[in-house]
Chain length 403, copies 2
């Protein structure tokens, strides 16, 4: 495959789909019940449901919840946060067991990890984040800074990390993949740099987990959080995850000291004693229904393999770029995502001055993309469900409707 001179014929789409090793995984998902959907290119906002998740939910209601009743907590549910976390760590995060846990929402996990990170660096009074970071991340950095009397140092791009970090840096909060442009930040390099200055890093993996391989342990990462409802297909508002590197476990504490993070949850102890290891990151009762989707999403990813997923994401990205160059750039679109495969995550963002209206029209016509202010149209590429012909069909409709 090449850039500008690529073959974008229907036959090429057919060939790519025929050669796609992951094509069969599409059958593992609940078919899209709305016949009006031409293409679903928003799996990076909400991944599609797995058949296994639908089945497991029925089974869970009928037998675990409806049959074993309260006994299911001891029999199955209580350990799900770390069991699923371990498997997620193994399959998608490059994390050895005992460091990843499924809980809460990304926002709550981010709050917990950021507070913890600051507590591990007493005397340091600066937080660093990017002006282009996702709103929740920016908002939380600002409010944690305000509550603890810290200063926020804003950067514009990870190249600035070197300039602003130093002996005052407590923690840096960055996204691994930019939610707007899909640009990948070099997680290992940034982590190393911040560590050299004595600071810690909290990584937001929302737009990378399940889409590109993450190697947290190898990078000696400190903390990471992310959501499971995008490339992991876990369902709307499914619980998030949180990673704390084992070397921080002993000193690691978090402010929301609920009973599920205590050493002896049912001991009803007089004092809060944190559970050993990652379990102390828990607070309230684990959201069992939501965790079913995470478990099934991670299991499917394990079957597919993150490397094959990544390879297909790259191929899909190239395919979008080839189609965009041939059809859309001449109509006034520009490509906001990196063209370098190694720097581009699991979506491609196109810019257009009329993107907001155009997005509405596209969605009305069954091409489900995502609009991101001010002028971005995100083409989400979910390797387990997205096909090459599907993408071509969508790009063709965009050409037609924007023409």
């Amino acid at each position: 495959m090449a850039g500008m001179t690529a073959d974008i014929s229907p036959g090429e789409a057919e060939r790519l789909d025929a050669e796609d090793e992951l094509a069969a995984f599409r059958e593992r998902f609940v078919p899209i019940s709305d016949p009006g959907v031409v293409a679903y290119l928003d799996g990076n906002s909400l991944g599609r449901p797995l058949r296994a998740t639908a089945d497991r939910l029925q089974e869970l209601v009928a037998h675990e919840w409806g049959g074993r009743l309260i006994r299911s907590w001891e029999e199955r549910w209580l350990t799900l946060p770390e069991e699923i976390g371990d498997e997620l760590g193994r399959v998608a995060l490059g994390a050895a067991p005992g460091q990843t846990i499924v809980a809460d929402s990304t926002s709550v996990c981010l709050y917990k990890t950021l507070r913890s990170a600051v507590a591990l660096r007493p005397g340091r009074d600066e937080l660093v984040t990017d002006t282009a970071n996702f709103p929740t991340d920016r908002f939380l950095v600002e409010s944690v800074a305000a509550e603890l009397g810290l200063t926020v140092r804003w950067i514009e791009g990870d190249a600035d990390v070197a300039a602003v970090t130093g002996p005052r840096t407590a923690a840096v909060v960055l996204s691994h993949v930019d939610y707007r442009t899909a640009a990948i930040t070099d997680l290992a390099a940034v982590t190393r740099l911040v560590h050299e200055r004595g600071g810690l890093v909290v990584w937001d993996l929302c737009h990378s987990v399940g889409s590109i391989p993450v190697e947290l342990d190898a990078a000696e990462a400190d903390f990471a959080v992310g959501c499971t409802y995008k490339f992991l297909n876990a369902g709307p508002g499914a619980p998030a995850f949180l990673y704390v590197n084992a070397r921080h476990h002993e000193a690691f504490g978090q402010p929301i000291t609920g009973w599920m993070g205590a050493a002896d949850t049912f001991g009803m102890a007089a004092q809060y004693v944190p559970a050993p290891g990652i379990r102390r990151a828990l607070s309230g009762t684990p959201p069992v229904l939501g965790m079913v989707g995470v478990q099934e999403g991670v299991a499917l990813l394990a079957e597919a393999g993150i490397d094959r997923v990544r390879a297909k994401a790259v191929a899909l990205g190239r395919w979008v770029l080839a189609l965009a160059d041939a059809w859309l750039v001449p109509l006034g679109f520009t490509v906001a995502s990196p063209r370098d495969d190694d720097r581009r995550g699991g979506h491609v963002t196109l810019r257009h001055p009329d993107a907001e209206r155009l997005s509405r029209v596209l969605i009305e016509n069954g091409v489900l993309i995502d609009f991101r202010r001010p002028d971005g149209i995100r083409i989400g590429l979910s390797p387990l469900t997205t096909g090459f012909a599907e993408v071509r069909r969508a790009m063709d409709r965009i050409r037609e409707l924007a023409g």
Copy 2:
């Protein structure tokens, strides 16, 4: 019905079941699929699943998530936290619309409300809670106090509130119904007393919501939180709820400033501007699957009516006491719950020196009660599912197995 001389014959159980206005509601629940269950008396830990919840989950996966896909956020899901919250407020909390929201876990909601309460009382440096409060509540009071440099004043029973509250009291955290004894605290009286001293109260309604009528607005309550997986039957780890009285909304802020609590969630604004009203209590993406159970649980309660639920809970409680007096007190059990109907919530706790072993034996024999350290056996009474003959059967088994 009377105490010691009550008729506890099988015919009386039959009569009570026949006269039970709520008996038909039992058919609205998924039948217990485990034939070994003799009686389910732990609905105050985990309520049973509604058929409607099972159906809605299937429908949601197939059509909302699997068909409308990402569009469901705008079409249905985004406003669920306040829609369900409003209905819960109306049906169970005595709360006018716009003050209740479904989100997170009880622990996280408690953290948010407690931090908010303290922020509303600057200069006051004491928190008050009960040594018998639920662990999460005690742990969070202690850790919030530690992080903000406050002192915890411990009480033993709500009669102590008058003695320890004063000009230094920022907030009092109490449970409306004691998780061990089912003793009801006078919510209105305690709220009034604390207000007279200039403090605020955060009520934990976990063991009262859906079981006894709560009148938050009438009591001029400040904050309340609670879970939905007990008497509301919303499912294991279903999201919690949080109430903030409208008079605090303008000044109310909470520390976990995620995008869902921002005024314009998808505006991707540079600064966090809190949403007007209760929505600012949100942080992360709402847990949609878990909210289905809350919605259905609240809808069923609306049909049944909280007053009828309460009346049946009282009758069930009396029934347990009559059976206990006749059969179990002679065997060395004591009654830990108030005998006064007006002071007793939705469960009855019996004490026995050998309660831990006995609880294991009971559960093995299909009598699903709850053991609470050190020596409590909780008999949970869920008026929408628990029957009088079922209770008699269970008490008979307890007599047999403890004899």
